[in-house]
Point group: C2
Chain length 213, copies 2
């Protein structure tokens, strides 16, 4: 039986609100990168709570990543290896990447503190991809500019981390330096986010019943 | 006195849900462009309701636009013209634009039906900018490719349209062909969206009181 956990919009809002002071204290982000579509809602809410009086909003850049199912029928290379076990959802596809024209080239990321935002850390595949690719792009830019000692610091915020074996890995220094924050760590359940609800009132009622029991 | 209208997350969700069948019937979008940060939440919710059984999700590209205040102190050109009246919030600044590498160049937009999503149509300045710039980019791509008769159709969805005199203009054919949809048209009030609430429960209580009176 698949256990479902229903999360309301107001709970998502409060998870972001609760995390914001720690994000401000520990990460002091100068830019957020929202992984779409799941990261859009928490990133927008977080922006409100990260706003400091007298300062501008922290800018958000959205990137689009989706887990891609490798099907033998459409991927001849997989079909060519009959012994290979199909691994659904292990390839990451970019649907949007950073817009370098508005960022004024990648150099504007060099030496910055960047917060990557997503809704859930499930297998960690998407997060691993995001961090690796962003680090690679920034390192190339740093070398090109000849900057020294301008290390870009990536941190991660997710609403929920599923307590399970991860397929993806995050950099050791990120974990060691506590640059990973999950508002909640949950068992390996099916998390039902409100933006996927077809009946939001029933969704809220199911969530309320959970909280009571 | 500024009249405030409080909108809850569930109301935002239901406004998207209610609009989805009309969007599917009239616009049949193949791509959404979310204007950040306000368009992030409605775009993510809409994606759920626009999903057709057996088809993939409609991809979302995020762009970032913000209204820019021209202050004489920081803009010498304005300070040089002492008779000029300051126009706060009339210049649009791009903080993110389309990522052409993932879109496979702008040609992938040519001939498509594209839905632009934002939370509110206030002065219409941002929407005018978005439509004009997107149309320009797509037209350039079309000419370069030598495509004929492949007109790209932009449509707009906003949660709220404020019934007021607009500073920005939308293309006449967009309005004539009903490619503009506002879930609600409201007087020129201050709309309080939930993602800006510092106390979401009080926000909901204020919204509930409004609905009753």
């Amino acid at each position: 039986m698949v256990v479902k956990e229903y999360v309301t919009y107001n709970q998502v809002h409060q998870l972001c609100q609760e995390a914001a002071p720690r994000i401000l204290a520990d990460f002091q982000p100068q830019l957020m990168i929202a992984i779409g579509g799941g990261g859009y809602v928490p990133a927008r809410i977080l922006r409100s709570f990260l706003k400091q009086p007298g300062s501008s909003n922290i800018p958000i850049q959205a990137i689009g990543l989706s887990l891609y199912e490798q099907l033998p029928s459409t991927h001849p290379s997989a079909a060519d290896s009959p012994g290979e076990v199909e691994q659904p959802g292990t390839k990451v596809m970019r649907t949007q990447w950073l817009d370098l024209t508005s960022l004024g080239e990648m150099k504007n990321l060099v030496g910055k503190r960047i917060l990557i935002v997503d809704e859930v850390d499930d297998t960690r595949t998407t997060l691993e991809y995001a961090v690796k690719e962003l680090e690679k792009d920034v390192e190339l830019a740093r070398q090109k500019l000849g900057y020294e000692g301008e290390k870009t610091k990536f941190s991660i915020f997710v609403l929920h981390n599923k307590n399970k074996e991860k397929k993806g890995q995050l950099p050791e220094d990120m974990l060691d330096e506590n640059r990973y924050l999950a508002a909640r760590t949950v068992p390996d359940v099916w998390i039902c986010y409100p933006w996927e609800a077809t009946d939001i009132e029933e969704h809220d009622a199911l969530a309320a019943r959970q909280t009571i029991t």
